[in-house]
């Protein structure tokens, strides 16, 4: 192919705009590299650089401002055989800064061409993230109060594996872009250019000035040695390949018949580190093995290593509707923090409610039947109290038989943990 340019969609840039030169430069690159049009996609965002996807006979995705790199990443991950080229202006660079940094860190095989023309051309020449503080732009004095960024330095420090800068009018542009596109990893090319419609009307910016800017701010162009590492997609696929185990759905067979299966509303009041959630899970497994429907909700702090841990469990022979606890049939009070979290429930407990209370835990006054146990006397560590409580319930014939509990522990734990759990439970028998 001698040109990828779309003859139906001629360029529409202002006379003298460097974007026009860059379009032709990119076309030469595509021709020189002899890329397959159907394996190449140009991804763009908003602004004059966002017109690029329309000029070429390749796949095209034009999206919203600053987000081009995000679509590009999705495309490349989904189809690693694609050559993904992103064009973005200094506008997209600013608004999509987080994506530029992420792309540098990830090192996905994408090519980012930044068309830096020092202002927002399309909206009237406002200042951008690259506008010099002394430039005269369409933002009154605002740019005087900020400094521009040097994206090449940023890209390097963020981990880009290829960084280069060149003038948009540089005859070597096509070769510069070719090097970036053939680089296996994230490549950034910053081109400097003139926005004749806006910027150069008020600022002395000529090809000669741009050439001098590149001399004044030299960047060791090309492959960034210190950042070299495997391409993200390749690495991702290698790592993912090791994950061969698909997590199967946990199912529990009905294995026991209860003579009178009754709805149970169970509240376990404990603290972080007491394995309250695990105990709740075991109650659910036991319930399911007895053919009950179950639900469990857990309440714990965002900082998971301290504070209360509360489990609310429903067991029901009927399908469970509302999953809140309205009238607990069983309360396990295992820590003060847990009790304080649900203090209000004690006042309205029914006389038939069974409250299992550890000796050291004070609870508010209640009409419920309170059963106190001193786990310290049994030499049971605090982190095992919730588990041991299930043993107490079995022993007191409150919830499930020891047989059902043992079955539930088997479904929840591996052999080793199961043995340890049963040892704990045996202590109170």
């Amino acid at each position: 192919m001698n040109s990828f340019l779309n003859t139906d969609r001629p360029q529409v840039f202002c006379p003298g705009c460097t974007h026009e030169r860059i379009t032709r430069g990119l076309d030469n690159t595509l021709v020189n590299l002899n890329l397959d049009a159907d394996k190449t996609v140009i991804v763009t965002d908003i602004g004059c650089s966002g017109l690029f996807d329309t000029f070429f006979n390749v796949h095209a995705l034009h999206g919203v401002h600053g987000r081009a790199l995000t679509y590009a990443a999705g495309l490349k991950l989904a189809d690693p055989t694609l050559n993904v080229i992103v064009t973005m202006g200094d506008g997209g660079l600013g608004i999509g800064g987080a994506h530029v940094l992420a792309a540098c860190r990830k090192n996905l095989d994408l090519t980012l061409i930044i068309l830096n023309n020092f202002n927002f051309g399309m909206t009237g020449g406002q200042y951008s993230s690259t506008t010099p503080s002394d430039a005269v732009v369409g933002s009154e004095f605002l740019n005087q109060a900020e400094i521009p960024i040097d994206i090449c330095k940023i890209a390097k420090s963020a981990g880009a594996t290829y960084v280069s800068k060149c003038a948009g009018h540089d005859p070597a542009l096509a070769d510069e872009l070719a090097k970036a596109i053939t680089h296996k990893g994230f490549a950034v090319v910053e081109t400097l250019g003139m926005c004749t419609g806006r910027y150069t009307k008020h600022n002395k910016l000529t090809p000669k000035v741009i050439d001098q800017m590149i001399v004044d701010q030299p960047i060791e162009g090309g492959v960034v040695k210190e950042n070299q590492r495997p391409e993200y997609g390749k690495l991702y696929r290698e790592l993912a390949k090791e994950k061969t185990q698909f997590p199967q759905t946990l199912t529990i067979e009905k294995s026991f018949n209860l003579t009178t299966p009754q709805r149970q509303e169970i509240v376990i009041l404990g603290s972080a580190g007491m394995r309250i959630v695990t105990a709740g899970d075991i109650v659910c497994h036991a319930g399911m093995s007895a053919g009950m429907n179950v639900s469990i909700k857990n309440d714990y702090n965002i900082t998971v290593l301290r504070g209360q841990s509360v489990s609310e469990i429903l067991l029901s022979p009927e399908k469970i509707g509302y999953t809140g606890i309205e009238s607990p049939t069983l309360v396990m009070a295992l820590s003060l923090e847990g009790v304080q979290r649900r203090e209000k429930i004690f006042k309205n407990l029914k006389p038939s409610t069974f409250v299992l209370k550890e000796k050291s835990v004070a609870i508010p006054e209640t009409r419920a039947r309170v059963f106190e146990i001193d786990f310290k006397k049994f030499k049971i560590r605090k982190q095992d109290w919730a588990l041991a409580s299930l043993g107490v319930l079995a022993k007191e014939k409150v919830l499930f038989s020891k047989e059902i509990l043992s079955f539930a522990l088997k479904t929840r734990f591996n052999e080793k943990v199961y043995t340890l759990a049963m040892e704990t439970i045996e202590k109170i028998y």
């Binding site: 095209a60 995705l61 999206g63 995000t70 990443a73 067979e253 009905k254 399911m288």
Partner: protein, 371 residues
């Protein structure tokens, strides 16, 4: 009989896998995070891709790119993330990109409460994108629904080439429960219609349909754009072309309203009160209805699974013979406006609650009894 045991978020992720999802990108946020962590366990062993975006905007961008390369994609977030998704959702709606978005709702506004439920986003999901184009929003009431509705969501996304939202809730997503997956017939899978022919025009479609699809990276060159476009995928300012496309985006969903109307109803003969609800609240409504029936005051219930497009005919026909309609919502009144619009002239009562806890069956009975 073996029961499955999992939280709603895991059920949603497993539903996605059953639907053939092969790409996920997301950003951690309570109470939706476990959808992400489940997908991260399930996609790699099946050859799928699961990515953490640098933010929610990026996550949606990854999804859009992957969907355009032909993947079946899922993302998951909560209200604050939906806010950030908005610009990309507009793109996906306007440019007909199939996506499934799980919104495990939490109490808003803004940061609100990470671990407190509410149906905060019911209108936001409908109107959270520019141009007011219709969207599909499905509302599960339990873990089993999370599984099944996610399969429907993928089917709709594929058929209509649009984002489909699942309006879950912390109280469903983070509640583990047992259910019998073998008790239901799962919907058969629908895939996007591939273009067959030799002159692909990316947005050329029948006036009430989505255009056939070809992926970026395939033999035929594909154009995708967030700009106002004609069938060829290039910018247009032609009012007729613009109008036809805007109309088609509406019609493709509205013409399919009947197919898209998912609901459950329990109509008891000779009752004069109908409760309309959706999501987690439907379960308390069912409990209340059971107790009221035992007390000799039976009522009827309609639980909506599709919230948008509004199942207007279902609501109209179901409510026709009732003297009183009561709408219950876990917010201070979002969907009630739709019910009032459709059932204008009928006696409609409302109870809404937004305090971080679920509405109890007792509260619902109180509303019913205190006419």
């Amino acid at each position: 009989m073996a029961l499955s045991f999992m939280e709603g978020n895991e059920a949603l992720a497993r539903g996605a896998m059953a639907a053939g999802c092969n790409f996920f990108a997301g950003y951690p946020i309570t109470p939706a995070t476990t959808i992400f962590s489940n997908m991260l366990k399930m996609l790699p062993p099946t050859g799928g891709i699961c990515i953490q975006g640098e933010d929610e905007i990026a996550s949606m961008g990854y999804c859009i790119g992957a969907a355009m390369a032909g993947k079946k994609v899922l993302t998951a977030t909560s209200g604050p993330g939906i806010s950030l998704y908005s610009e990309q959702v507009s793109f996906a709606i306007g440019s007909e990109i199939p996506l499934v978005i799980a919104d495990v709702q939490r109490l808003g506004p803004s940061t609100g409460s990470a671990t407190r439920g509410a149906d905060s986003d019911i209108q936001f999901l409908r109107w959270g994108a520019t141009a007011g184009v219709p969207v599909i929003v499905l509302a599960p009431k339990d873990a089993l629904d999370c599984y099944i509705l996610t399969i429907h969501a993928f089917n709709y996304a594929e058929q209509f080439r649009c984002p489909v939202f699942i309006a879950s809730n912390k109280e469903i997503g983070m509640t583990k429960e047992s259910f019998d997956l073998n008790s239901v017939t799962l919907p058969s899978l629908v895939e996007r219609t591939p273009y067959k022919g030799d002159n692909y025009i990316p947005f050329k479609a029948d006036p009430d349909k989505a255009p056939p699809f070809l992926p970026i990276g395939g033999k035929t060159l594909v154009r995708q754009t967030s700009s106002t476009h004609g069938p060829d995928g290039y910018i247009t300012i032609d009012p007729e072309i613009i109008a036809a496309n805007q109309q088609r985006l509406r019609t493709k969903l509205h013409a399919a309203r009947q197919q898209l109307s998912l609901y459950e109803k329990n109509l008891i003969p000779e009752t004069d009160t109908l409760i309309i609800s959706y999501g987690i609240t439907s379960r308390a409504v069912e409990d209340a209805a059971k107790i009221l029936a035992q007390k000799g005051q039976p009522i009827s219930t309609l639980s909506l699974k599709t919230l948008w497009p509004v199942p207007e005919q279902v609501i109209l026909k179901t409510a026709a013979n009732f003297k009183r309609v009561v709408v219950i919502e876990m917010n201070l009144g979002q969907y009630i406006n739709e019910i009032r619009r459709i059932l204008g002239g009928k006696k409609i009562d409302f109870y809404g609650q937004m305090n971080g806890v679920m509405i109890t069956p007792g509260k619902i009975m109180e509303v019913i009894e205190n006419e």
